[in-house]
């Protein structure tokens, strides 16, 4: 089949004319349509990071615990001692979820799990970071409901607990929700497998689901703006089968244990194309496959379609020659379809045949690793100056502060997420020692004295108002959350969700956020183990009740660099966020400043997303983490809860009401100094944690804090059925609890 490559065709493949010239140079001739398709997906942002590579290299990747560094394999590998490693990653499935929330989210979970188990690790926990527009909009409710159902559908069936994460609501995500899926697996150090095609002559097997036309070109779909036209891209969303993936999971782990595998890779984004050229590139070999041998679920598929399909639950497995029968036995046990579709070669080429006739031939290494890299133009966004200049005090009187607290607890960003996590099986595998709702999820490792704590965080409003500070804060908050559970932060994975990088203002946001993440990671000694970049998150915002003269506008999402922090607890039990008993002493660690800019308080009470967001002193943030870990090691903490959105008042309220049926009140008196009442209660100054301790441990606790030279105040005592803060807040727990617990349910089930 010869088809002339026209300008339109090149454009349709999201390639520039310069890129096309580079392709011709590589091949020394014009590409055919199959080759053009292959290049287009491998050179999409999703696969090649061509627009972000230059700034991603700023991130620190080295550390003594890092066994596989970011970018080397499908996921990073971190040593947790005693011969054990954890493998983890966070990845976006934003665009598919915007078009088809249920399948988009479900296949996001499926994809990240495959990245983990193809490395030889058994997935033991999933989390996610979800962002939607306001729940007052029907479209946001439809998306939330579909995404949650999709995540549950996949995770519950495959039997990996989904233990929570974060959910955030802001108008900027209307029509472009973010679905970032995190998964972590556990393996023995020697069990880790590489995705390499080594040993010329070794057979290449195709394992799993048959190939169809679903998900055609998903990687390039994820690399352009969403628009009204996007609905037409619906075939680019894949359909997931968690049962099949469960069989794949068990079969792959059994296969890897048998020792007959050379290398294995999931067919995720860019499907057969990506898995063949990447395994060959890593193995410094070539690979030859015949698409006619690929199991197909539709008739009449051409090589172009087979190579670009993103049908789910498929793997490429390279088996040691002579051990095919052994492998076949395992495939059969799990009722899985496997076909030998090719073999490893030594000529460095990715050769695709159809019934013996070559239809594509491209140098594998160049294709996989040498995508064009761009240095994009950057410019400080025009909105920043004005947005940051707002003085929160100029907004006037917020009215009754008790009512303000209730409004904040009712804000879906702050409110209890139980409506959501009750739909996830968060207990399967019986390792979830801290249930969803605390600052970090904690998963024990059976047969050891170790637990893993995980927190997924990003305050995108801070990033919108100050990307550098926001990037730092995302890392610091996740480190603090993990440390509140008593864990020592080890490493992060990140998912960088931004708008169109061709816009210099967006690129500036991306770069500043990355610089913030870098500086924070260096201080916390938490290198980046891997992650993913999701650009082009912007949408035409349709106003259902248009109050404004600007009816529709194209707007990027707020910069959202989601951080997944992994920490380790050894030899002790985790600390949780809620007050345990009456009569405990409450302390506030850290300093409260007049910092209301970018706060949830301004958003909820004044409908304003502006002001200067809180500053983060990285040194203080690190001391706090060390202090929390030390206090937990000494067994001093009965509870520890981070102050984040909603400030001190919300943190105290949550500690009172988090544990259903076990609510414990509190009476506190915080020194006001020169602060406004609003800043004291609802300001979001960084590096603050509310802890409670047994009064008999107060002296030791104070001494410990003082030895770290960290600021603190003893602010009160637990007990009673109310929360009282100075003379400002006096609220029955029943009311606080009901408001906070029912907020999302009320909105979703009305």
């Amino acid at each position: 089949m010869t088809q002339e490559i026209s300008r339109e065709l090149i454009q349709k493949h999201n390639l520039t004319l310069e890129e096309y010239d580079k392709i011709k140079q590589i091949l020394g001739r014009e590409p055919n349509i199959t080759e053009l398709g292959i290049f287009s997906v491998m050179w999409s942002e999703h696969c090649s990071y061509k627009n972000s590579k230059n700034v991603l290299k700023l991130l620190p990747k080295d550390g003594k615990r890092m066994l596989v560094k970011a970018g080397e394999e499908n996921a990073g590998v971190v040593d947790i001692g005693d011969g054990l490693v954890v493998v983890f990653k966070i990845e976006s499935h934003n665009h598919p979820s915007a078009i088809e929330p249920f399948q988009g989210a479900a296949t996001g979970v499926g994809g990240i799990l495959r990245d983990i188990f193809t490395m030889g690790a058994r997935p033991i926990v999933s989390m996610n970071s979800l962002r939607f527009g306001s729940l007052e909009e029907p479209v946001s409710r439809r998306l939330l409901s579909g995404v949650v159902e999709g995540i549950g559908f996949y995770g519950n069936c495959i039997g990996v607990p989904t233990v929570g994460g974060e959910i955030y609501f802001d108008e900027c995500y209307e029509g472009n929700p973010l679905v970032n899926a995190f998964s972590l697996g556990l393996a023995k150090r020697e069990e880790i497998v590489k995705a390499k095609a080594e040993g010329p002559g070794n057979p290449v097997f195709y394992l799993g689901s048959a190939t169809g036309r679903d998900g055609m070109g998903g990687a390039s779909f994820a690399s352009k703006d969403l628009s009204e036209e996007s609905d037409k891209d619906r075939p680019a969303v894949q359909v997931g089968d968690p049962f099949l993936e469960k069989l794949l999971l068990e079969a792959v782990l059994e296969l890897l244990k048998s020792g007959c595998v050379v290398g294995i890779q999931d067919m995720g984004a860019a499907g057969l194309t990506c898995s063949t050229c990447e395994t060959a590139s890593r193995g410094n070999t070539g690979i030859e496959i015949d698409v006619a041998k690929v199991p197909q679920r539709e008739t009449g598929m051409i090589p172009y379609e087979i190579m670009l399909s993103e049908s789910q639950e498929r793997m490429l497995v390279i088996i040691k020659k002579g051990r095919e029968r052994e492998a076949k036995k395992i495939f059969d046990k799990w009722d899985l379809h496997a076909e030998e579709i090719g073999f490893v070669t030594d000529d460095g080429l990715m050769r695709v045949k159809e019934n013996g006739v070559t239809v594509a031939e491209i140098p594998a290494k160049v294709l996989a690793d040498d995508a064009p890299v761009y240095v994009r133009e950057e410019k400080e966004p025009a909105y920043l100056k004005k947005a940051r200049s707002l003085d929160p005090r100029s907004l006037g009187n917020p009215g009754d502060l008790n009512a303000a607290l209730l409004k904040l607890l009712d804000s879906p960003t702050i409110a209890s997420k139980e409506w959501i996590y009750h739909q996830y099986d968060h207990m399967v595998r019986t390792n979830t020692v801290v249930l969803p709702g605390s600052d970090a999820a904690v998963i024990r490792i059976k047969g050891t004295d170790k637990s893993i704590a995980i927190s997924v965080d990003c305050n995108s409003t801070y990033c919108y108002l100050d990307p550098y500070e926001g990037g730092k804060i995302a890392v610091a908050e996740s480190a603090r959350n993990v440390a509140c559970s008593g864990a020592r932060p080890l490493s992060i994975t990140n998912c960088l969700n931004f708008g169109n990088p061709m816009n210099p203002e967006i690129f500036w946001q991306l770069k500043k956020c990355i610089e913030g993440i870098r500086d924070a990671c260096l201080i916390f000694e938490t290198p980046v183990s891997g992650g993913n970049v999701s650009l082009y998150n912007q949408n035409l915002r349709r106003r259902t009740n248009p109050p404004s003269s600007v009816a529709d506008e194209v707007r990027a999402i707020d910069p959202t660099p989601t951080i997944g922090m992994v920490g380790l607890i050894e030899g002790r039990e985790p600390v949780t966020s809620y007050f345990k008993t009456e009569g405990d002493t409450i302390l506030l660690l850290g300093e409260t400043k007049e910092e209301l800019g970018g706060s949830e308080f301004l958003k909820v009470i004044f409908k304003t997303k502006a002001g200067k967001p809180p500053r983060l002193d990285l040194k203080a943030a690190k001391i706090l983490v060390d202090l929390l870990v030390a206090a937990s090691e000494k067994g001093l903490l009965k509870s520890a809860h981070d102050c984040s959105e909603g400030g001190l008042a919300v943190a105290l309220a949550e500690s009172c009401i988090l544990e259903k049926g076990h609510e414990v009140g509190a009476k506190v008196n915080v020194s006001l100094g020169s602060l406004s009442n609003e800043a004291l209660l609802f300001g979001e100054s960084q590096s603050r944690v509310v802890i409670s301790v047994d009064p008999k441990n107060l002296k030791n606790t104070k001494e410990l804090i003082e030895s770290f030279r960290f600021p603190y105040q003893v602010i009160g005592e637990t007990g009673g059925k109310r929360l009282e803060i100075n003379e400002l807040i006096k609220a029955p727990l029943e009311v606080l609890s009901h408001t906070w617990r029912s907020s999302i349910k009320r909105r979703m089930e009305r």
Binding site: E149, G152, N156, C157, I158, G159, D241, P242, F243, L244, K246, L247, W334, D335, E418, Y421, H422, Q423, Y424, D425, H426, M427, V428, R429, T430, T432, V433, L435, R444, K446, E573, G661
Partner: protein, 228 residues
């Protein structure tokens, strides 16, 4: 005592049950692949939770045709204990070892959380280590746990004291609000007429260690041990 934990394609609580039996209770426990048929050596068979065959067609509908099921019928006919948890309960219903059927939760949503249950009958091999009217706190995690049976069958279950667990509030009172899925009679677990086959939707294996927040579930496994 020797336990056989059956593994169907899609079972996902198999290891959790095995862990409690083997490492918490120090019993002999082995996995039984669903294509095996020789289960003579086991004293008790456990059908664990999960999504056997991906819940395709109907929960438990395909698993009941697995080769091992014929042997399990034989095992139960000999009066030996069989316990089916969650998806295991659904399989027992599909196989006709227990009466009734499961419908989708009335909320139409999957639900995973702790619930309170009242023990209705302590004179069975699965409950003899509990006290009369004891309230247990165990987690549930299912999308189809809405137990249904026609009135005469329900009457029979009540009359013959085959209802072993009911959803209640914290105080042990049967209320509509305490029913997480719409089950008839707030039924969470039933046994057969002989009392040696027990199916329940809650997960006792998820509440058998202090670290997990409740140890009420271990009482069910200990009951089985004490009955051998």
């Amino acid at each position: 005592m020797k336990f056989g934990v059956v593994v169907f394609p899609g079972s996902n609580c198999d290891y959790d049950c095995y862990h409690v039996l083997k490492h918490v209770l120090n019993q002999q426990a082995e996995f039984v692949w669903h294509k095996d048929w020789d289960i003579k050596k086991f004293d008790c068979i456990v059908l664990p939770g999960g999504f056997s065959y991906g819940d395709y067609l109907r929960t438990g509908a395909i698993a009941r045709f697995s080769p091992v099921m014929e042997s399990i019928v034989h095992h139960s006919n000999q009066g030996k204990p069989v316990i089916g948890i969650c998806n295991g309960f659904q399989i027992l219903l599909e196989a006709g070892l227990l009466p009734g059927a499961m419908l989708r939760n009335d909320s139409l949503k999957f639900v995973c959380r702790h619930v309170y249950l009242r023990v209705e009958n302590t004179e069975t091999p699965f409950t003899r280590k509990t006290k009369k009217d004891e309230v247990l706190r165990l987690p549930i995690a299912h999308g189809e746990g809405n137990y249904f049976a026609p009135k005469p069958v329900l009457d029979g279950l009540i009359k013959n004291r085959q209802i072993l667990l009911r959803y209640t509030d914290e105080t042990g009172t049967v209320t509509e609000g305490a029913n997480p899925n719409g089950s008839r009679e707030n039924i969470a677990g039933i046994c057969n007429l002989k009392g040696n086959v027990f199916g329940l939707m809650p997960h006792p294996e998820r509440a058998s260690e202090r670290e997990l927040g409740s140890t009420d579930g271990i009482k069910i496994f200990k009951s089985i041990l004490s009955s051998s």
